[in-house]
């Protein structure tokens, strides 16, 4: 027998602040800490030019290798000390944070666009297109991406464009797999069939019927991949293959600063801590979002 359709109770759409408050309420202590750290890092990155007391690249040979405030030989105004060229570690960390987050954000977005498009294509077109795309996915999974990144940067040079491209190529296959899987699942659903019966073309179906239904797994994957991309960018910069000096990124500050570790460990500590905070906060948030999405899936 069939049941009569029950009209959905009409709930008022929650306003954005109210939804944010709800989210905040549902977080535990560590998740709240991660949210606050994340917001603080983004604010620091955006307002770096206003907050930083010095030009990140201005050198001062008479104040080289000064320790942070509170230590012997510290120089007034240099909160976290100076590096081997007398540049302010605090200002460089802020600008490094800014660049690292910017590169990672662009890279993750590019990966989402590449992987999302290919996944959508594979899921809708099927057949040989799908087989080719999935073969590319398998190849990408089979090779450790750090090696590919190392190789591409050595060959194409370390310009910002190449770095964003390399970061975008890291992890696109995850989006492609997720989107393809979701699309294949959704394509069998009655509402897609109804849309097709009503005369909707593949583009309209993709745009209005598929995309809204795969946003939440994509958001989760974006967050999870962001921390991997921050790690990859930092690792490449650390090895000397990322953005070239004198421009500061967190990874390159650690990479260059390690030569001065015995006498000036503060050069390394500040950027290393920032990398840790980013990856920690992003991973906690990603896991939290994933659990939330899972609960909704189970409740369905």
């Amino acid at each position: 027998m069939t049941y009569p359709a029950v009209p959905a109770p009409s709930l008022p759409a929650p306003s954005l602040p109210a939804a944010a408050y709800q989210l905040w309420r549902s977080a535990d202590v560590i998740q709240k800490a991660a949210i606050l750290i994340g917001i603080a890092l983004v604010v620091l990155a955006i307002f770096a030019p206003l907050i930083a007391p010095f030009d990140p690249n201005s050198q001062s040979l008479i104040s080289r290798l000064r320790p942070p405030l509170g230590f012997e030989r510290a120089k007034a105004g240099y909160l976290l000390g100076t590096d081997e060229l007398g540049r302010d570690v605090f200002s460089r960390s802020l600008y490094g944070l800014r660049l690292t987050l910017m590169l990672a954000g662009l890279g993750a977005t590019l990966g989402l666009m590449i992987g999302g498009t290919l996944g959508l294509l594979a899921g809708i077109a099927g057949g040989r297109t799908e087989a080719t795309i999935m073969a590319a996915v398998d190849t990408q999974i089979a090779v450790p991406f750090t090696l590919v990144a190392l190789f591409l940067l050595a060959i194409l040079g370390s310009s910002i464009q190449v770095i964003v491209l390399v970061l975008g190529l890291a992890g696109w296959e995850q989006y492609a797999r997720i989107v393809r899987g979701e699309v294949k699942r959704l394509m069998n659903m009655p509402f897609i069939e109804a849309a097709r019966a009503a005369g909707a073309g593949p583009l309209r179906i993709a745009r209005h019927h598929l995309l809204p239904n795969i946003v939440s797994p994509l958001v989760v994957q974006f967050t999870l991949s962001l921390s991997n991309i921050v790690l990859l960018e930092s690792t490449l910069s650390f090895l000397g293959l990322g953005v070239q000096p004198p421009t500061a990124t967190l990874g390159s500050m650690v990479g260059i600063g390690r030569d001065y570790m015995p006498t000036a460990p503060w050069i390394v500590i500040a950027p290393a801590m920032m990398i840790l905070l980013i990856t920690f906060a992003v991973q906690i948030l990603g896991d939290w979002l994933r659990d939330g999405a899972d609960v909704r899936l189970r409740a369905r």
């Binding site: 999974i141 991406f145 750090t146 090696l147 690792t235 293959l241 650690v254």
Partner: protein, 309 residues
């Protein structure tokens, strides 16, 4: 089983072929690699001679065929910088890498499997939460930060361990731990999840109902079944993480392995070495993946019948 093995091997060969092709054409994207090597102040005749010497004047496609041909006779070319066969340079780096990877893998298995099982059994008590919190933290710490912090504390402040090199047994401690760190974090999480899946199964209840002691139920019935999943994760994820880890850790600790070689040849733009090195590591990872895949199918007959190529 035989047809499954053939499919796996074919896929492995195709993947490797795709990588060879991509690597070759990517290398040639950058124009005349020779300019990076010889620098300024070389006469144009000498430059032309060098280009001819490295076969860079041939058409792209015939260079590609020559490159493929190298797989039949082992002539992969000469290093731009060291002027000796790249195969020789890469091969002598393999053993030091293995010397670092094998202890790191052993440490990973010894630590993460018991921890993962413990976290699954006592998932609702503080034991489970503590293990997962540490695993989580370990996954968020980049391996180069871990390595740097260890160097700072144990070499510079406490003076207990040597900073770089691979001379004595003491030299092995920090690189092994730094390499194993992220692997332990990853594998502990996978082990816990795999065990959790198994713990809820009917055969576990049956085993307990038979009156078997709990330890035997966990190990013989639980771990045996979870082990199949764990094995596949080791092949897929851990092999990749280990390859990436080698690059970073070897370069930090000046460990004369293949990871250090890849970074230094990337920085010096020694393309022949970089190219052959990347292919060697890629081949190693692909072979490990395929081997694990086959072991997986052999251990779990359901797989080879249900999974289509």
């Amino acid at each position: 089983m035989l047809s499954y093995a053939l499919r796996t091997l074919t896929r492995m060969a195709l993947t490797f072929f795709a990588i060879v092709t991509i690597v070759f054409f990517a290398t040639r994207l950058s124009g005349d690699a020779i300019d990076y090597v010889v620098g300024e102040g070389i006469t144009s005749e000498d430059r032309a001679l060098l280009i001819e010497y490295y076969d860079l004047d041939k058409p792209l496609f015939s260079q590609y065929l020559a490159f493929l041909h190298a797989f039949t006779d082992g002539q992969f070319g000469l290093s731009f910088i060291e002027r000796r066969p790249v195969s020789e340079i890469v091969v002598e780096r393999l053993w030091p890498s293995a010397q670092l990877l094998l202890p790191a893998m052993a440490l990973t298995l010894l630590v993460s499997i018991p921890l993962g099982i413990a976290a699954a059994i006592w998932r609702k008590s503080w034991v489970g939460s503590a293990v997962m919190a540490v695993a989580f933290l370990g996954y968020a710490v980049p391996n180069f930060v871990l390595a740097i912090v260890m160097m700072l504390v144990f070499s510079y402040w406490l003076n207990w361990l040597p900073v770089v090199g691979n001379g004595t047994a003491l030299h092995f401690i920090m690189p092994t731990v730094a390499m194993a760190g992220v692997l332990i974090a990853a594998l502990t999480r996978f082990t816990r999840n795999a065990m959790l899946d198994v713990l809820g199964q009917d055969f576990m209840r049956t085993a307990r109902a038979k009156g078997l002691p709990e330890a035997r139920v966990i190990v013989k019935h639980g771990l045996r079944n979870a082990g199949i999943t764990i094995l596949s994760v080791i092949g897929l994820q851990v092999a990749g993480l280990a390859a990436a880890g080698s690059v970073v850790i070897e370069s930090i600790f000046a460990w004369p392995g293949i990871g250090d070689l890849l970074v230094s040849s990337a920085l010096r733009r020694d393309y022949p070495v970089l190219q052959f090195g990347v292919l060697t590591v890629a081949l190693a990872v692909i072979v490990i993946n395929a081997a694990v895949d086959l072991a997986y199918a052999w251990a779990d007959p359901r797989l080879r019948h249900t999974v289509k190529a």
